[in-house]
């Protein structure tokens, strides 16, 4: 039993350390250091030695001394085995190993005798590994997007691995791609159109959705159950099956290439979910408050305006943010309806840029950063509202 858990401990911990070191090495390669070998075998054996050493010493030494001495010894060994590299790389190796030793500091020989210890060890390391894996896999493309926008096409063709940024350069040189896409490619206009369309969609959607949601939540009328159950079914119908008829009708009405056309379509496609989200919240408002409003002689309109809206601001905020995000990110309809560069939204403009194979990739990525940044900033800032919006509006995808 003890042997089994010991093996599992050694294997999982050294695989974990190996992954950490490999990610570090990959990221350092992207800073222009010339590594060509991940040294998997050697690092794995080193990892086993380190884990074993930390385990055997256990609680006999002060944690602080134990971690530091082991980390230093290991770093020196690592330095000896691997290719030479700048000093900052060794410092990062030291930090990574410090982190690792800290994580396994509580393991000792006695701990391995406990019940289910192999499972616990595996779960512990899967958790640690999972956090780093997910963070790496998710952030890596965003990192590449950001850094590419500061590089030049030629530099990237010469060495696709060198993403190091030269901060000694002029700031205007560093941000050159951004200046170019604003000057030459007219991105200022696209930002304006995108904002106009998104904010317009939010306002119109709310104007339509709040009364409708109130009716569904509060009033009795014929066909109510049918309506409330069909809202989500309607929402499940995909944009792609709407595209051809809308394209033909919009062409004949002259609504293509216009902000108005986009506003109509975006509003209609986000309305069902907006109504669904809002009516759920309206139902949770105590009816007595409205009754008081009726006693005061308010009309239905007055009740919605003076009682319902102020009381449900959080829900309205999450609907607004959610709708804004959908409209800002929307691509299919802007691809179909817009073919005049004068009326492009940001997404469509970036897609248009890729149509020309000559467009340098840093411009493309600068455009991508511009379209991504507002959404991420809004998301981080209003995360609480947006998450509840995302959860309620689950079906959108």
């Amino acid at each position: 039993m003890k042997f089994k858990s010991l093996t599992i401990y050694l294997l999982t911990s050294s695989i974990f350390l190996l992954c950490l070191l490999s990610i570090l090495k990959i990221m350092s390669t992207l800073q222009g250091i010339d590594f060509t070998n991940l040294n998997i075998g050697q690092n794995f054996i080193l990892g086993i030695c380190l884990s074993l050493g930390l385990l055997v010493v256990g609680n006999k030494l002060n944690h602080f001394i134990k971690i530091f001495s082991f980390t230093s010894i290991f770093t020196i060994f690592y330095l000896y085995i691997n290719e030479s590299a700048p000093i900052w790389y060794y410092i990062s190796v030291f930090i990574v190993i410090l982190f690792f030793s800290h994580k396994v500091k509580n393991y000792n020989l006695n701990y391995l005798k406990e019940d289910f210890v192999s499972e616990k060890i595996i779960f512990d390391f899967i958790t640690l590994f999972g956090i780093i894996f997910f963070a790496f896999v998710i952030l890596f493309p965003f990192y590449i997007m950001l850094v590419t926008s500061f590089k030049t096409q030629i530099a990237l063709l010469v060495n696709p691995l060198d993403f190091s940024l030269d901060f000694k350069k002029d700031l205007s040189d560093l941000f050159k791609s951004y200046f170019v896409i604003f000057d030459t490619y007219n991105f200022g206009r696209y930002i304006l159109i995108s904002s106009l369309v998104s904010i317009g969609t939010v306002i119109i959607t709310l104007m339509f959705a709040i009364p409708a949601a109130y009716a569904v939540a509060r009033l009795n009328f014929f066909g109510k159950t049918f309506l409330s159950s069909s809202i989500l079914i309607i929402y499940m119908f995909p944009a792609i099956v709407l595209v051809i008829p809308l394209y033909t009708v919009f062409s004949q009405l002259g609504l293509r290439n216009s902000v108005v056309g986009l506003l109509i379509v975006y509003t209609a496609t986000t309305l069902p979910v907006a109504i669904y989200m809002l009516q759920g919240y309206f139902k949770s408002i105590p009816k007595e408050i409205e009754d008081a409003g009726i006693m005061d002689g308010h009309s239905w309109f007055g009740i919605i305006l003076k009682i319902i809206i102020p009381l449900s601001l959080p829900a309205i905020a999450s609907v607004a943010l959610y709708v804004f995000m959908i409209a800002w990110n929307e691509f299919l309809f802007s691809l179909m309806f817009l073919d005049n560069p004068k009326s492009f939204t940001l997404s469509r403009a970036i897609q248009y840029l890729t149509g020309d194979a000559e467009t340098p990739r840093q411009y493309l990525m600068a455009g991508s950063v511009i379209v991504t940044l507002p959404v991420l900033v809004i998301f981080i800032y209003f995360e609480k509202y947006l998450v509840s919006g995302l959860t309620a509006g689950s079906v959108k995808g």
Binding site: G130, P141, M145
Partner: protein, 419 residues
Amino acid sequence: MSDTLSKIEKRTAYTLLLPAVFLVFSIILFPIFANIWISFKEVSLKDIRIPEPRAKKIVKSISDNNSELKIVYKLRNSSLIQKISDVEFKDKLPSNVIPVDLDSRCEFKSKIIKCQFGEWKAKYRENFEVLIKDENNNEIDKEVIKSQKPSLSGKADNILLTTNFTLKNFKKVFYENDFLDLLLTTFYFTFFGTIGAIFFGILAAQLVNQNFYGRSFMRSILLFPYVGPVVALAYTWTLLLDPNSGTFNALMVNFNIFDEPINLLGQKYMVMNIFGFELKLRLALTTVIFFEIWRYFPLAFLFILARLQAVPKDLYEAAEVDGAGPLKKFIHITLPQITAIISILFMIRFIWNFNKFEDIFLLTGGASGTRTLPINVYQQGFAISDIGMGSAVSIVIVLLLIIFMFIYFKLIGKKANEI
């Protein structure tokens, strides 16, 4: 008394609902029915424009002092396939200017030349000439004549509104379109995309449900791919995976994991040799599925996490007292708690992945074996310009969707209400 109140209530309800219902009806429900109509017609992209009579006006001098001018109207039918009937032409002349020897189809009355051209066939063209002169032999200002635009009107059938129907589109969809491959690709993409997203969603939720430093930060990061604009993310991936100068391939070759760069988005098959068996992997499709998983596992994560946080802590404590390890706890407590939400997620994601267009379009454009049904709608309707055919494919999608939804409500509709 209460009767009138309920009447008022009903009326208010309808008034409040009307704008929203009308908009949703016209933009979502109407197109679905319009699709059925169009799918039985032979329509191409260029037929959508209603045929118009058009005229281009050219002014020529024929005398020295410009007291006489020749106007040439280049008349044409804008449509290459449809006729226009009852074409009427109008153009205004300045005062004191009159036409000479006017065409018999026309008449000149109160400064306006008005002509009845009758019927124009498809592709119809004519150079229609009018001589004009000033009554007092003064010079006529050419610019004034030029700036006056003629107006034309005519009656043309809107091909979308005629009642010629054909089954040709559906025959083409099923027999000439490689339909089986299309369907298989769509299901392969949908199924593995959904399973993968849910699998990683469970994993991520399980992670974030534990206590560690930077947990809320991690939760935000995990949602990034889902909230980011698809255009930006898809192009970043395309650049990353580019075989010639993409970072991914460069890294793999640099560390000797690949012998040579692999065109992950442009290669249809990859032959793998596992224990002597030759396996053909749909490479581009697999890559697209990975992108799909990467982008949509956050949604599964969000839902499962919400559910996990609602599981009572004492369940786990009781299990620990009973001697259950982490694995048993997961299988016997966590999994049963999340099966309901997983089945809902599966259906929702399945339907949405089934309809996914943007992601595949932006990554591969439907090339190298990634042609799914939604991509085919676009290809038929806009790349080949066969609107009728595109609609027919849309109808196939809608029919399949209705089947899925039926299964969904039969199987888990009740469960969904319980949550």
